[in-house]
């Protein structure tokens, strides 16, 4: 499997992703945002960080980068695209995923581990999870409060496009266990074709027992299996 990680000025999780991809023997290339064409890739990853210093709106300026045209083409052809944290914000700004990510409800930057319930395993990112699995991943963001119209939320729920929801250790999805105020406790969503996943938590940060867990590894194993 071949992947490309797009690097923007202000990306800061690009190296972590590269390490994770290497660990799972996915052949990766780092691609600078100003390139006009993507190398041949099965998977494109938009990493976390603070692209362009979060100017205007988080992910907004990055979504107009030169390379993004190729990312959109790749996505529209059904190619895999994973946006993590700032990458999720960029996907939203490109229009590849619906909704918007607002400031965290309590106006604080959040950096901690959270529990997530896996709600959709019929996609290439989550094949190796079990439905309703409870996993633990870190979050580190200031704008992760997913917001969408009532109609859109209903659509996401009905079509089962919500990949992850914030929950507690026992898997209860409740406002109490919602770290940032996200509508319906949403932590990650898929597009209709399920080839694009955007998520606020960082799977690349839990890929080794030395990093205190491997719940993130399962996503990379799923991607490999999907090939």
């Amino acid at each position: 499997m071949k992947s490309s990680v797009i690097v923007f000025p202000g990306s800061n999780c690009d190296r972590d992703i590269a390490v994770a991809l290497e660990k799972f023997q996915i052949t990766n290339q780092m691609v600078w945002h100003n390139e006009s064409t993507l190398p041949k890739s099965d998977l494109i990853i938009l990493p976390g960080g603070f692209s362009y210093g979060d100017y205007l709106r988080t992910g907004c300026i990055a979504s107009k980068s030169r390379i993004i045209n190729d990312v959109i083409r790749h996505a529209k052809k059904g190619g895999l695209v994973l946006g993590i944290c700032n990458g999720f914000q960029i996907l939203i700004e490109t229009g590849l995923l619906p909704g918007v990510l607002l400031r965290n409800k309590k106006l604080r930057f959040l950096s901690k581990n959270v529990f997530l319930k896996v709600l959709n395993i019929n996609n290439q990112f989550c094949l190796n999870y079990k439905k309703k699995d409870i996993i633990e991943l870190p979050i580190a963001h200031n704008e992760g409060n997913y917001f969408a119209s009532h109609k859109l939320l209903q659509n996401l729920e009905e079509k089962n496009l919500i990949a992850f929801k914030y929950c507690n250790e026992a898997g209860n999805i409740h406002e109490k266990f919602n770290p940032n105020g996200s509508s319906n406790n949403i932590a990650g969503i898929l597009n209709d074709k399920k080839n694009i996943l955007g998520m606020m938590p960082h799977p690349e940060r839990l890929i080794d027992p030395l990093l205190s867990g491997e719940d993130g590894s399962i996503m990379f194993e799923s991607l490999l299996k999907s090939q």
Binding site: Y52, G53, Y55, L56, I61, K64, R66
Partner: protein, 72 residues
Amino acid sequence: MKKDVLDPQGKVVSQTLKNMGYNNIISVRQGKFFEIELKETDKEKSKKMVEEICKKLLTNQVIEDYKINLDQ
């Protein structure tokens, strides 16, 4: 932002617009917009109060200017 103060966000927005093909852009400066509802009904008093608010809280006059529009 005052004209002679560097506005990096405005510059990036301007450059992005140019990259998107809007070649007629000369420059962009980014600012803030506040909507303030008042109990006061007298125009002059309202203006005076909002000016005070601008000076005391909303702007840093070393780098920022303000403009007030009063609507009924």
